[in-house]
């Protein structure tokens, strides 16, 4: 095995890839666009969306508006501590919501609503479209105002008979959040971290892998390379080296994009106030203070995933007869990695074990999620890294095997 031959092959592939300026620029720029877009843009968008909806004065239709007690009406219409909606008299609440005339509707019973507690309970129907996120905001506002009115009647009644408000709640439930700061930061959208890392590896490295294998085959230059005095092992290792270096470059760029985005997010999300910013980032996993060890662990896992996937990419690339065929074969690989990232986000019920962490792609995804949620230990990271390295040897062997098969190299 001649190292200078291996490097010669790898250097040619790298040079060729870097000179494909459009693809190269995209692989550098995309992480710096996608990462802040997901980690900052989403919280910003949702924050503005929900915040705006809460502030908005929605039009709410009311059947039998005249029967509504003034105190309840005041609670519903008041913007200061009330629901802050505009009430409009209508006759058919269900129809009005379905046709979109009003965003929500209330049906006040013909017999009216009590203005003191102690009688038979009376129901007020709230009509909204349950699947609409906007409608849920109105429903919550209306429900809250009606509950407050109901509570005020009860409190008044309790005061009249000389009882304190605590009479209603002799025992209170107090839920205490046991999450660490990192765990609460790695919220609903923490899956974006492993997903973007896989995306960076596959996005960047697959271009080199496909071009240097199926592309060379299609152009006819692979056959010419193989008739020169270079061993097939040296060709495979050279191509693997190029693909791996590019995949590593993808990991470095992606981790840098994470670091920049996670440092920028608190500044940008400040507009929601300290609490709002905290809630927002907790929900979306946007402000992740992973620190050096967190990012370093993520980088280690990323490197070994890159090594492992490079072998797969080269093996698939050389099996394909053309550039397009190779790209078709790679689509399921990308879909699998994205699905695993999303699936593992909701995988708290899965029993963690050494075997699970050692499983390709799944283990790495769990590991990155654990890092984000502050659960990862050095042992977990070590298991993932060692398993990935073992699989990397396996996938490199697979690539070499495909390179050694005449029916793979010369099939038409």
């Amino acid at each position: 095995m001649r190292l200078n031959f291996i490097w010669r092959v790898a250097y040619k592939e790298l040079l060729s890839t870097v000179r494909d300026t459009k693809a190269f620029r995209a692989s550098v720029i995309m992480p710096f666009i996608l990462t802040p877009l997901f980690l900052i843009g989403f919280p910003l968008l949702f924050g503005n969306l929900f915040g705006g909806e809460v502030q908005k004065k929605q039009v709410v239709g009311v059947e039998n508006l005249a029967q509504m007690p003034l105190a309840l009406r005041s609670l519903l219409e008041s913007g200061d501590g009330g629901a802050g909606v505009e009430l409009k008299s209508i006759e058919k609440p269900l129809e009005a919501v379905q046709t979109g005339d009003v965003e929500a509707a209330l049906s006040i019973p013909k017999g009216g609503v009590p203005n003191e507690a102690g009688g038979r309970p009376v129901g007020i129907q709230v009509f909204v479209k349950f699947s609409s996120s906007k409608a849920r905001v109105v429903r919550d506002k209306l429900s809250s105002a009606i509950e407050n009115y109901s509570k005020s009647l009860v409190l008044k009644k309790l005061a009249a008979v000389g009882l304190s408000p605590d009479t209603l709640e002799p025992v209170k439930v107090q839920a205490v959040n046991a999450e660490t700061i990192a765990e609460s930061s790695g919220g609903l959208f923490a899956f974006l971290f492993p997903m973007l890392i896989f995306f960076a590896i596959l996005g960047g490295a697959s271009t080199v892998a496909v071009d240097s294998t199926a592309g060379e085959k299609e152009r006819g230059s692979l056959e010419i390379l193989l008739v020169s005095p270079i061993k097939r092992l040296e060709v495979v290792l050279g191509k693997l080296l190029a693909v791996t270096l590019f995949a590593l470059f993808g990991v470095v760029v992606q981790v840098m994009a994470f670091i920049i985005s996670s440092n920028l997010s608190p500044i940008i999300l400040k507009q929601f106030g300290p609490k709002g910013s905290e809630d927002m980032t907790a929900l979306f996993g946007g402000n992740l203070n992973l620190g050096f060890s967190g990012f370093f662990s993520m980088f280690l896992i990323g490197i070994t995933v890159a090594l492992m996937l490079s072998g797969v990419l080269v093996a698939i690339g050389i099996y394909a007869r053309s550039f397009k065929e190779a790209q078709t074969y790679l689509v399921p690989l990308q879909i699998i990695s994205q699905f695993v990232s999303i699936g593992m986000q909701f995988g708290d019920f899965i029993t963690r074990s050494t075997l699970l962490y050692a499983t390709p792609v799944i283990g790495s995804t769990l590991g990155i999620l654990d890092i984000v949620k502050g659960k990862a230990t050095p042992e977990i990271v070590a298991i993932i890294v060692i398993a990935n390295l073992i699989f990397a040897v396996g996938t490199a062997y697979l690539a070499l095997r495909n390179f050694s098969k005449e029916q793979v190299l010369f099939r038409n």
Binding site: R8, E223, I224, P229
Partner: protein, 241 residues
């Protein structure tokens, strides 16, 4: 220089691409390997170039056995095929230097050889341009230069004029004619009889993987009472001679 003895390649029990093929090509000649499309020419050349392993028989190139000494064989051959595969984002100079490196040619030897080839093939203005910008004829020049960068004693041309215009085609034929000398052999594989008639002294005609005839072109025409090689080829492959 090239000795092929009962060479066979069986892809599956039903598919035999080359069946007991034998021929010899000597130094100082341009030897034709002729046959219709699908006759087994490319499979034969791939076995000679050590890309495919024969399932039977043997072959030696420049004294090296293709099975036992594949790397030595590859060191002595240069191959031009009809694919004209180049790396579009590399310049002609970079492509030639890339391949020269696999023959352990030093920097000065490489530069000297590139200069020689550049003069011979009139490709000086191509060397610093990327291959993606080349016309078909320009590409063919770099493809030929790449094949002979290490001055091989055996040059194999496989349907090398495919897709070329008349000027580029003529350049390839001229190059092949000029390349042979007392210590070199050119193996010219084609289905275009006019090219073979112009270049080759002797030829093997194969069809369905089998050797139909092997002789000098004059004798092949004489045996079949033909006025030209194409007629002789037709008669031989149709069993009319």
């Amino acid at each position: 220089m090239i000795e092929v003895q009962n060479l066979s390649k069986r892809y599956s029990p039903k598919v035999i691409a080359v069946d007991n093929l034998s021929f010899q090509a000597k130094a100082g000649e341009i030897y034709g390997l002729l046959g219709p499309n699908g006759a087994g020419k490319t499979t034969t050349l791939r076995m000679l170039a050590t890309l495919l392993e024969p399932t039977g028989g043997s072959a030696s190139v420049a004294g090296f056995d293709t099975k036992r000494q594949p790397e030595e064989v590859r060191r002595t051959i240069g191959v031009v095929n009809g694919g004209m595969g180049l790396y579009d984002r590399l310049t002609g100079q970079e492509i030639l230097e890339y391949f020269a490196g696999f023959y352990n040619m030093g920097k000065s030897d490489t530069a000297k050889r590139i200069k020689e080839l550049s003069d011979a093939l009139e490709m000086n203005e191509l060397l610093n341009r990327r291959a993606g910008e080349y016309s078909t004829g320009m590409k063919q020049k770099i493809v030929i230069a790449r094949a002979v960068i290490h001055n091989p004693s055996v040059l194999i041309l496989d349907e090398a004029t495919n897709g070329l215009d008349v000027v580029a085609r003529r350049a390839v034929l001229e190059f092949a004619r000029n390349y042979k000398n007392s210590s070199r052999v050119v193996l010219y594989s084609t289905h275009i009889m006019a090219e073979a008639e112009e270049l080759c002294e002797r030829a093997a005609i194969i069809d369905h993987g089998k050797l139909i005839a092997e002789d000098s072109l004059a004798n092949l025409k004489k045996r079949t009472n033909s006025t030209n090689l194409e007629e002789a080829f037709f008669r031989l492959t149709r069993g009319m001679a």
